[in-house]
Structure formats: structure tokens, C-alpha cells
Symmetry: C2
Subunit: 247 residues, 2 copies
């Protein structure tokens, strides 16, 4: 199965870099807090970060007490930024596709992946590799685009009123899994749609126990500051999952 | 919290009775096969059926080898039919709300519920009671309306083309949980919307391990016979769950 490296496309890279600098991006407001809320205490832990990108998370994990962090990413450009801006003696950056992690010859207490797994075609293969790389009692925490979001709308995603406000999401093809090309800075970014049940069953079939799931929504404080985020009540942007390997 | 007994409403009861007689209803085609596929071997098992309705399932369970079946339902009318049409020395029918099952003074190997839990306001309470009523190693299998279906559309659920064919589902308020009055034969049938993550987390917080989930879709054979069912690829009607209590 093909391994996708859209992040080494120049136009995509620049657009993405600008997005990640925004302090009020959906990642900063919803995805990262939810992801971090599902992490165990990191003190003394060996951590693998799948799709580490610029390495900000890897650096965070070290600051929270991790003993060792291995960050992998398929993109040379992303890793160049990571090594320049977020290096640390406890962090190792490796250029590697998520599909190839079975090659890594060590075990981890924790595998974390932030918004990367929806780019992977062979989800079951990656999940099984993660399970095999974890020590007994290890934890896998990941975020991905929400399954309602990865379904192919086949046209406009939203129906809007005459003022441009969102009335409802146009949901199509939630039951049609697989590749779903979308435009995000550049054409032909491939995402892979999987139903909620497929995500759950893939994890349990690999041997994981589902710990907790979060579909992040704004609270009142956040809504007061960013009223537009009320649209998330129609459809959350992210799904965040904690899965556990038995002790 | 209120316990709902819409099934003893005359008009509702007659409409529902006719629906259940249809051999090509969504229940018969999708929900029952999915529910049954998640059941363990029933031989010698003690089974509790939550919202047993007309008792067809209870009778089935006995025919599949169950040692004892207790069917509970809040509706007197439903149980009158059950006792008349589906009685058996191994079946006990009790008029009781799902919210009151903690009163039952025996343990079960298996608790099953077909399309009843979306009528329950206190889902966490019922799930905890089910957990407590199960023997170690016991299994809880239930179906409910799909979480995309229980979200309140606040108007037309579907956008259609000029020929009346469904183009997309109008998804609103998926992130707004709670009571959701709908019209189904009569006005004011109360359903309770819960997000996918809430269903999963309620089960794991009660002590259950998630075994498997199914969002039933038609296969090619079924589509050839019932082409209209292709709409389910936009939005499955049901969610079916198997949860397990540790041995």
C-alpha cells in the first residue's frame, strides 16, 4: 500500500507551517488539550511519537519528564525543522513512514500520534505494529480527524443561510470507507475514511482495550471567546482515543 | 429521571405492531442479524432481555438453548402479547422499567437489549445495573439507534433532489446530547441522544471492556433485492455493541 508524503510538497509545507503558527487553531484549542488529557504521567517513560512533524510534542514530552522520545515522520522537511527547533539529547528523530515502524528494534511505554493516522491506508497494520512495540501495560493515545469529517461529502460540506452561517453538515458516504482525496493547501491530499466501529474493532482485534474516547467540544469559556466554534456542536473536528495493552 | 412508556399509547402500539410485522423492515434486515452475530453460544445460559417487547427474542433464545430467560418491559400491552404469543416454561416476563433492574435478585450470563436503550435517560445508571447483574465473564449485547440518527435534525433530516431521492443527511447537533422529541406514529416520543464517545466511555467507566461494535450496512445481495437501502451508506440506522465483564 502506498505511503503518503504530502508534507514534502513545497506549497503544502508553507501553508501548513502558517496554520500551525496560529494560536487559535483547532489543534491548539481542541485537539492538543484532549490528546494531552488522555496521557499517563510521562516521568521516566519511553515514548514513540508517530508523525512527529516539527517535534513540538516530542520536546513537550521531555519537559514533562519522559526518559526517551523517538519521533518518526515521513517528511524530510518536517524533520529538518524538528531537529533545528526542537532537539534534545533525549529525543531521536527518524525519517520513517508509520507503516514501517515494525523495523524499530526497541519497546516503548507509550505510543502517541497527533493527527496523522487518517493519512494511513493500512490502519490495521500500523495498529498491530504499535501493539507489538508497546511494553505490557503500555498505552496508545492518538488523535485523528473525526469519522464524520473523513466521510467524503462529494461537494459542499456545509449548507449555509444567506448570511453564510452554517445550518447543517451535508453528510454523505459515512458508510463508504477508504481513500478520500481532498484539497488542503494543495490538491490530492489523501485521507482514509474509517467508520467509528472500524476504528474500535481494529484496536480490539489487535489486542487493545479501549480506555477512553473524546470528541472535543467547546466549553462556555471558549465559546465566549470564539463564538464561531459553536459549529463544532453540529460536528466535532477530532476523535481522540486512549487504548491500553494488558499488564 | 422520567421513565417513558410510549408503548402503552393506543395509536403508537398499533403503528408499531404493523411495522414489526413487515418482513423487510430495517430491524429484520439489519439490526437483528447484527445483534445475533454478537451473541455467544446461548446453551445453558441465563439471559436478561431489556425491553423485550413482544417476546420474540426471548422465545428465540430458548430455542437456541438458553436455560432461563427473563424478559422485562415497561409496557403492559407489549407483555400481554408476549405472554400470549411467546410463552415458555423457561421464560419469565416482568413489567419493569429498564431503570429499575437493580431490583432483580439474581445474576445472568448475558444481558441483551434490542432497540430500547435510546429511550432511556439515565444510560449510565442502566449500564451500571447491567454490569452488576452479570456474572464474571458475562456479556452485554445491545442495539440502539445510530448516534448520527439520534442527533436532533431540527427540521428535515434529508436533503432530496427533485425526484425525491436522498442526496445527503442534514446533520445538526451531533454534539448536543440529551432529550430529543420526535414523531414516530405519535408526537412526543422521547429519545436520548448520546455521542459515540459517551456510549463507549459509559461502558468502560462501568467496568466493561468493549468487545465489538457494528454499524450495519447492506451487502451486495441485499442491495440487489432492496436498492433503497443504499441510503444506509450515507448514515447507518443502528449501532450494535458487545461489551464484556472480566472473568
Amino acid at each position: 500500500m502506498a505511503k503518503q508524503n504530502i508534507f514534502d510538497n513545497e506549497i503544502f509545507f508553507e501553508g501548513y507551517q502558517k496554520l500551525r503558527e496560529k494560536k487559535s487553531s483547532a489543534n491548539v484549542l481542541f485537539e492538543i488539550p484532549a490528546l494531552y488529557s488522555l496521557l499517563p504521567d510521562l516521568k521516566g517513560k519511553k515514548i514513540l511519537d508517530l508523525g512527529c512533524g516539527f517535534g513540538e510534542h516530542c520536546k513537550d514530552y521531555v519537559q514533562k519528564g519522559a526518559e526517551k522520545v523517538v519521533g518518526i515522520d515521513i517528511s524530510e522537511k518536517m524533520l529538518a525543522v524538528a531537529k533545528k527547533e526542537n532537539s534534545d539529547p533525549k529525543i531521536t528523530y527518524l525519517q520513517m513512514a508509520m507503516e514501517d515502524i515494525a523495523q524499530i528494534d526497541e519497546k516503548f511505554d507509550l505510543v502517541i500520534s497527533s493527527l496523522a493516522l487518517h493519512y494511513v491506508e493500512n490502519f490495521a497494520g500500523v495498529v498491530q505494529s504499535v501493539y507489538d512495540l508497546l511494553n505490557a501495560g503500555g498505552v496508545f493515545v492518538f488523535s485523528q480527524e473525526h469519522p464524520i469529517n473523513t466521510a467524503h461529502a462529494g461537494g459542499d460540506r456545509w449548507t449555509r443561510d444567506e448570511n453564510g452561517n452554517k445550518i447543517h453538515l451535508n453528510l454523505k458516504n459515512y458508510g463508504v470507507e477508504g481513500e478520500n482525496e481532498s484539497v488542503w493547501f494543495v490538491d490530492h491530499v489523501k485521507k482514509y475514511h474509517r467508520m467509528f466501529s472500524t476504528i474500535v474493532n481494529t484496536l480490539t482485534e489487535a489486542g487493545f482495550t479501549i480506555g477512553k474516547m473524546i470528541e472535543p467540544l467547546p466549553d462556555e469559556e471558549l465559546l465566549a471567546k470564539y463564538p464561531d466554534q459553536a459549529d463544532l456542536f453540529h460536528k466535532p473536528d477530532f476523535l481522540v482515543v486512549r487504548a491500553e495493552k494488558k499488564k
